[in-house]
């Protein structure tokens, strides 16, 4: 047994204007899950501590909270693994959400983004036209199994740095779930779904892999890349900056072996998009003053033909 100090964020939107923290000491082994420690604290010390929970087995996705500064499922995280040097475990509501009471947050923005996907199969033909089941090959189904494991705990959404600065971004879970329908051979709305998720800022993903902390190994980070590739393959909203950026990067690497910074900026913003270029101009000017502008043209690296051979052999798309 050890003394574990639960350092808990306390707030009630009905009565409080600012949050405070309570420290509750519990005598439990360090292997105790944070959820069990909270249950113990609620039962034995302070019945007013609020948190969501249901299954206690990492299946329901209710008990996501920030533990030691990183969002995790409380039922899957031991107190010992998140303990500070002074023996305390810092517990906060999920970031990127409005707190409601203590560790309970308003989940609405997360559900709203999920609902926008129309998260159900939309086949092209009516069910009545089918005399047999719609069949999916094992290979086609394999692609969807990992994503179907998503328990919508919002761990990824709460850790997403883009959501934290731009609430319009769909977030990792919604994009991963869009993939689940985009790649389902039974669905008839592939292009519409890609267009919808592109409008919800698919291309605003910052490639930071914060969503690789997914407790169910859905790895939204990889599914986001899959959806982007689907968008390029199906040529959906190709004039947006995201696909332009990806394809001009590919082009400069194929031409020179290097990512040519100057051409990538022009190619992404648009060489003739004067207003767009003016917006990046002040930073460019500041860099120029410091002699820090990237070169306007790059000399190809030695043996660049080998690089072009690789692109051609893989039929990799470039702008």
């Amino acid at each position: 047994m050890a003394k574990i100090k639960l350092d808990i964020f306390r707030f009630d939107e009905a009565t409080d204007t600012i949050p405070h923290r309570d420290e509750v000491t519990v005598d439990l082994p360090e292997t105790t899950t944070v959820l069990d420690a909270l249950e113990y604290a609620k039962a034995e010390v302070d019945g007013s501590i609020s948190f969501r929970r249901s299954c206690r087995s990492a299946i329901c996705g209710s008990c996501s909270m920030s533990i030691g500064g990183v969002t995790s499922l409380a039922c899957k995280t031991s107190c010992g693994s998140a303990m500070e040097e002074d023996g305390s475990v810092k517990i906060d509501p999920m970031p990127n959400f409005q707190p409601m009471k203590d560790l309970v947050v308003h989940m609405d923005p997360f559900w709203d983004k999920y609902a926008r996907l129309k998260p159900y199969l939309q086949p092209n033909d009516a069910d009545s036209a089918h005399q047999t089941e719609r069949r999916v090959s094992p290979d086609d189904m394999k692609k969807l199994v990992d994503v179907a494991n998503c328990i919508m705990c919002a761990t990824c959404y709460s850790l997403c740095p883009v959501v934290s600065v731009d609430p319009a971004f769909a977030g990792p879970a919604a994009i991963a779930y869009a993939y689940r329908f985009i790649e389902d051979v039974r669905d008839g709305q592939r292009k519409e779904r890609i267009a919808q998720i592109s409008e919800d800022y698919l291309w605003l993903c910052a490639h930071c892999y914060a969503c690789s902390y997914c407790p169910k190994h859905v790895d939204p980070n990889d599914r986001i890349i899959d959806v982007k590739r689907a968008a390029i393959k199906d040529r959906v909203m190709m004039n947006e900056r995201g696909p332009r950026h990806a394809l001009v990067v590919a082009k400069t690497i194929k031409q020179t072996g290097m990512l040519a910074e100057t051409e990538v900026i022009q190619g992404t913003v648009g060489r003739f998009n004067i207003r767009g270029l003016l917006k990046v101009a002040p930073l460019g000017a500041r860099m120029a003053l410091k002699g820090k502008l990237p070169p306007p043209f790059l000399k190809p690296v030695p043996k660049v033909d080998e690089i072009r051979t690789i692109f051609d052999a893989l039929e990799a798309p470039v702008r």
Partner: protein
């Protein structure tokens, strides 16, 4: 056919013939940005290598690692491009490839992991490399200079080499996503609670500033996708660092450097002025190990670090 030899091939050829070099030799992959807008990073890395007594053999014919963007267009091309780079290193007898960019580290390691763990991927890569007579056997390890400092040099040795301690300069570490995440690819230290940069800061005589933003994203990869996104991410993180007492920032990633150094001015309207100077990892290490500050390209930074350095009696 010596005229077609690459510089590194000529150099290694000379070494073998004269057996002149006894220092530890590494393959060196500088990445695109250190050769383009952050040349000060490349230069200070080479000066640091001299001080450390190691030899960085630049792979001059290597391609871009894919920069996390190439994956968006094709599933295989970045992996095969990196296989070509590893084949070049292997052919030179260099099994250790050192990077100076978090994004290069993560994406080159991801490609290497796929190649080494999947016979199918390795066969696909070698079928294409074979068209120009190259082959990758899977023997290369990709590491960041930060890891080399700790694993190969050692923090105690590093500390003993310091001739110009940082006089308690309060430095906030900024890791850059791809050197820690995903953990399955990097795994050299905890992605949630890394401390290698802190350890280096302390070894150099500085004080490491803890703040929640240190493992977060700088926004570099979406700076062009939508106005104001990267500057907001920079402002948010630099605000946290500043509020926790930071006087400067250190990063092992030139992409983070471009964002943090470039966007703090734009972020000021929403997040307040932070004006934290941002050092490339090798700049600050090289400074402490005695490289003349004039040679480190500190004048190339948009937020000039020299003012803070004067206030701590690090330079006149």
């Amino acid at each position: 056919m010596s005229s077609t030899l690459l510089p590194e091939e000529r150099a290694l050829d000379a070494h073998v013939r004269t057996n002149s070099s006894k220092s530890k030799r590494y393959g060196f992959f500088p990445g695109c940005v250190a050769k383009e807008s952050c040349k000060e990073l490349f230069n200070s890395t080479m000066l640091l290598a001299d001080k450390l007594g190691i030899e960085l053999v630049e792979l001059t014919a290597a391609s871009c690692c894919g920069a996390s963007v190439l994956n968006d267009t094709n599933r295989d091309v970045a992996r095969v491009l990196n296989a070509r780079t590893y084949a070049q290193a292997e052919a030179l007898g260099l099994d250790d490839v050192i990077t100076i960019c978090s994004t290069c580290t993560g994406h080159m390691r991801a490609a290497n992991k796929e190649l080494r763990e999947s016979e199918e991927h390795m066969a696909q890569a070698n079928a294409i490399l074979g068209k120009f007579g190259a082959n990758y056997k899977g023997g290369v390890t990709v590491r960041h200079l930060l890891w080399l400092l700790i694993d190969d040099i050692g923090l105690d040795k590093l500390q003993s080499m310091v001739v110009r301690p940082l006089n308690g300069l309060k430095v906030a570490p900024f890791y850059g996503c791809h050197i820690i995440r995903p953990e399955s690819v990097n795994g050299w230290e905890s992605a949630r609670h890394p401390h290698s940069l802190e350890d280096v800061i302390v070894a150099l005589g500085g004080e490491a500033v803890d703040y929640a933003g240190k493992t977060r994203c700088c926004g570099f990869h979406v700076q062009l996708e939508k106005d104001g996104i990267a500057s907001s991410m920079v402002g948010q993180n630099m605000r946290m660092a500043k509020d926790n007492g930071a006087e400067a920032v250190i990063t092992p990633c030139p992409l983070c450097h471009l964002a943090l150094d470039g966007y703090q001015a734009d972020a000021a309207a929403r997040w307040g002025r932070t004006d934290l100077p941002v050092f490339h990892l090798p700049q600050l290490v090289a400074y402490a190990l005695g490289v003349s500050p004039e040679k480190l390209g500190l004048n190339k930074h948009l937020i000039d670090p020299r003012e803070v350095m004067v206030s701590r009696d690090l330079i006149n």
